[in-house]
Every structure is written in structure tokens, then in C-alpha cells.
Symmetry: C2
Subunit: 304 residues, 2 copies
DNA sequence: CGATCTTACGGGATTCGTAAACATA
DNA sequence: TATGTTTACGAATCCCGTAAGATCG
């Protein structure tokens, strides 16, 4: 049967050691003097050791009590620090949120939302992993991320997947390009005659695109690694390109026009993935709700 | 109004985090399940933060609670260590006693008593300063010693002086020396014709002796620093010596005889000196009582 | 005699355990 | 339905504050 000990008792003990008077220490602790006396007596009794040598005129720590004071002070400080820390985390004054987000979302859509979040909760550390879908899932599974925005469902049973938004593909071309005229959505057939500037085969967007239109193929004329370079090439009139709508911010330029591309199955689904067995921290929950509230609505109509 | 927190609550919290079941955790804490549930609820309420996500089928820590577990475990360990330490000190299983004792007492009378003490309280560290009287008092005043056995009263008001024992002087000579015959106490007049082997003028014994017999003087023929050397000289027949009875153990030898020396005022008083404002530690009190119980009774009759 | 700690005691809040209600897999 | 948590409630306990008692300077 282990001992019981409360911070109230420790505080009483420490103040009595400081004040060396039951009357004053009782006042400090907002107790009547007899109640305070009983509190100290109870503490001594449960500890099994005298802490004070008291006569009616003087109250002094015993040698053993003198040693215990230091431990009591430290215990009080540690306990208060632990409570403060807990409360700060619960109140989102401190904490850390780690998320894993597809690069296409992380670059254009996410930054203003993170800025908003940081302004509302300046004490929260943020950790964004802008990695591909599988890496996103792995981060959540290994608890290195609180949740993820990925383009594949999670297979593991400890992960829970929910729909987040849909990402349509768009054709981007120069304003003076034949495809720039007209308002209706384009089809794969419309693209056939035109050479296309694409991302490298290693990119997930390219892989997704090719898988979605299979067995049809696009007329690739140039492969690049960075979307911003693709934009430059398209602006220079080297060709057109096809990209997910969430990356269109790379192509916002007067000389360029984006038109939606309609094709069966050519629509990338984005998911929210989180652990099924544990809830989100208070801070993570707040970011989660913000992102869900501000999620991309209709692909292609988003404006900077 | 600072928060209150008890080890009982922390233990309940930690066991629930471990067991992940109110029923099992309640059993561990020897409480009915509803009472245990109320305990946790009260803890969450006073902390102002949810600690567990509970459904009827599962109990899991919240993210904030997960952080608090570590702090709680450490707090429990620290609190228990502090209590154990206090109890060990009170029970004299641990601790430290520092005393300051006149060299004459420290060398002969003290050792067997310290051995006895150490056997009864093997966990108590002992620190004996075998220094002269003024240094003894200084050690107590500066709290480097719990108490002291000294030959001068303390002047400082924060020190309390009490009688400890009286130390008579003895004449030591060879068994074949003229002074060895007879049983009565000797007087200064008896010593006059005989050359004397003495300690150096810097020694307190020598100073005390000369002050006590002033204006009379002894016929010093040889001065030495160590009492054991004095003993050797006396055994070799170089002369006689005069020493406090408490140092007679240096002279216990078949060839030597000790006879008390009677002279007005020639009696060294030994005092116990301790701080007036604070009590002794439990361990120091035990040693204090042992030394008082075993203090040298009648000078000169003490046997090894 | 005055200041201060301890003891005595009645009232109120807290906490406990039993029993019933409620919720999920 | 079965397991496990929460709610309801009477009883025991604990704790507080007032008042009286004891003790030392």
C-alpha cells in the first residue's frame, strides 16, 4: 500500500518551512490555523517522520525535514510544469502537428492555410512532409505524421481512409493555341494531334495520368522534372501539357489558358488518412478541421 | 489558486494508461470501478483536459494524455524516492553524522564507541574531525559538525554548551621510579625534583596544564609532538610525564604506572557543544545519546 | 499575560460501494 | 447479448472552521 501525497500537502509543508509560523503559513494557504495544523500533522503521520520541531513560540524544521524541503520544492515545480504543459497542449498554446501531404497540394493550396493556422496558433510547431502518396501513408503508419493527404487508400487495418477531394486534370496551352478556343471540356481525342510537354515518368502525376488513359497514349515531345519548367516551356510555345487541377497555380499567366480534360476515370481522388486506433491531438484536430473546411471545392475554379 | 494533485490520482491515471480498462485499473487500485471512474473524471476536470478517449469497448490515451503519462511516471518515482529517503533518514538507515572531537578523546575513547555505532547503524556516514577545541566550536557554528566535544565553552549565542565529563591529570612514570610507590594522589610538590617529558608548547594539553598550575612550573627536560613518542621516552627512563587521564591509553604498559595528580583547578572540563536553534538529526541524536551514555566516568579508572 | 500551537466538536463537502441504466461490438 | 462504462443514491469518511484548552516566553 504505497503512500499518498498531494501537492496541497507539499505546498503547506514548504510554506510552513518558509514562514516558520503556523498562523502565517495557514493564512498563505487560505486555511484556518487549526485546519492547517491538522494538515501538517496528517502529513507527518502518513510520512512516518516528524518534519518540524515546534514549541509554542518557535517552529523549526527537523534535520530530516530540512532534507525533505528540497525534494518537496522540486516536486512542486515539476508537478506544476507538467500540468502547465498539459494545459498548454490542450489549449493549443503549445504542441506540434506533423502532416504528410502530396507535393501537388503542399505547394499551392496548403501554404495560405498553414499561414492562417500559424497565425491563430503561433505556439504550435508544424512539420509538413511533402512526399508522394505511399510515403504519406508510411508516415502515418509509423506515427511520424498525425494524418496525411494522399492519393491512394491505405491498406493497413490500423489506418482509416476518408475522401477528401477530387482532382480533375486540365489541359494548359498558350492563348494563341488552337485548343485555347472554345469553352467545353476537352477529350483525349482533342489532344491527339498536339505534342505534349510532360513530367518525367517517375512522377506520380505522370504515372497516374498514363494509367488512367491506358491504352490510349499521349504524344510526348519533352520530359521535365519540375512543373515550373513545364510552365516555361508551354509559355514558350513548345507544346501543351496536362496536369492535375491542384497544380494549376504553376500556370497562372496571361499567356496561358487551362481547360478541363474530360475522360472516364480521369479524376484523381485525394484521401485523408489517419490512424484508426488513436485520436488526433488537440492541435492536429484543429488543423484537420481547418484543412477540411478549406478543401479544394471544384477543381479548376480555384483562384489564387 | 494553484492546482491540487495527489499521487493517488497520478497512480490511478498511470495504471489506467497501462491497463486500458477501468475495471482492471480499478482492481489494481483497490477501488470499485465507479469510484475509480469518478477519480479519473475528477482528475481530468481539475487538470482541465481530457486524458482518455473512451468508448464502452476501449479506453485510449488522448494525444495530450500520452505526453502527460511520462511526466506522471517521473513524478511518482520522484515522490516515492523523496519519501523513502525521508523515512530512511528518520529510521537511521541512511544519513550522516559529523562531529568534532578533541584529539585526546578521538584517539582512545571514541573508536570503540564509533565501531559500536557503525555496527548498529551501518548506513550512517560518519565524519569525525579530531581537532583542537576552538576548531571544534567553529565546526559546530558553521554547521559542518552536528555537535562537538571540546574543552572550552562556546561564546556564540547560537551555540549551547553542556558539561560532558571531567578530565583529571595523571603522572606517568616507570614502575621502578620513586613516584611509582604509594597510592595517594600526587601533588605538584611531589613532581618538583623530577625531570619531565612534555608535549610541545603548541599542544592544547600543554597550554592547559601550564595555565592551570601557574605560577608554578614543571621541570621540562624534553619536548615532543606525539604522545606515543612521549610514552616511549618515559618507558626508556628519560623522565616522567603529566597527561590528561583520557590519553592514558597511550601509556598502558607493564613497565609504566599512572597516578592521579591533585592540584586546585587542575582538572580539564569537557563540554558538549551543539547549536541552540536547531535539533539534531535522528542519526546525530542516536550518536549523541550513545556518547553521553558511554562517557568517561571517573578519570583514571577507565580500562581498555 | 499575550502570543501561538493543540484539542474538541458540529456541520458540510467529498468519496465510497451497491445497484440500475446505458452503450457498443 | 455480453462486456464494460456511466449515472443514481444512501452511507461512511474526511475536512473545515469556531471555540476552548494548553504552553512557553
Amino acid at each position: 500500500m504505497p503512500i499518498n501525497l498531494s501537492t496541497r500537502e507539499l505546498r503547506a509543508f514548504v510554506t510552513l518551512a518558509d514562514e516558520r509560523s503556523f498562523t502565517r503559513a495557514a493564512a498563505v494557504n487560505h486555511l484556518s490555523q487549526p485546519a492547517f495544523s491538522a494538515l501538517i500533522r496528517g502529513l507527518e503521520q502518513s510520512l512516518g517522520a516528524r518534519l518540524f520541531d515546534r514549541t509554542t513560540r518557535s517552529v523549526e524544521l527537523t534535520a530530516e525535514g530540512r532534507g525533505f524541503v528540497h525534494a518537496a520544492r522540486r516536486l512542486l515545480i515539476d508537478a506544476e510544469a507538467a500540468c502547465d504543459d498539459l494545459q498548454a497542449h490542450a489549449a493549443r498554446r503549445r504542441g506540434r502537428v506533423a502532416i504528410a501531404v502530396l507535393p501537388s497540394l503542399a505547394a499551392g493550396w496548403l501554404p495560405p492555410l498553414l499561414a492562417d493556422f500559424h497565425q491563430r496558433f503561433p505556439g504550435i510547431e508544424l512539420d509538413v512532409a511533402d512526399v508522394l502518396s505511399d510515403a504519406c501513408l508510411e508516415r502515418v503508419r509509423s506515427a511520424r505524421a498525425d494524418f496525411a493527404l494522399a492519393s491512394t487508400r491505405a491498406g493497413a487495418p490500423e489506418l482509416r481512409t476518408e475522401d477528401f477531394c477530387r482532382d480533375r486534370f486540365h489541359v494548359v496551352c498558350r492563348r494563341d493555341h488552337p485548343l485555347a478556343r472554345g469553352r467545353r471540356a476537352l477529350t483525349l481525342a482533342d489532344l491527339a494531334p498536339h505534342p505534349i510537354v510532360q513530367l518525367a515518368r517517375s512522377s506520380s502525376v505522370r504515372q497516374y495520368l498514363e494509367a488512367a488513359i491506358y491504352p490510349a497514349q499521349l504524344r510526348t515531345m519533352l520530359e521535365l522534372d519540375q512543373l515550373s519548367t513545364v510552365a516555361g516551356m508551354v509559355r514558350a510555345g513548345l507544346g501543351i501539357t496536362v496536369v492535375p487541377s491542384l497544380t494549376l497555380f504553376h500556370f497562372e499567366h496571361d499567356e496561358l489558358v487551362a481547360r478541363p480534360l474530360d475522360s472516364p476515370g480521369l479524376e484523381r481522388q485525394v484521401f485523408v488518412v489517419r490512424r484508426a486506433d488513436r485520436g488526433l491531438s488537440s492541435a492536429a484536430q484543429a488543423l484537420y478541421e481547418l484543412l477540411l473546411r478549406e478543401r479544394p471545392r471544384a477543381a479548376g475554379r480555384r483562384r489564387q
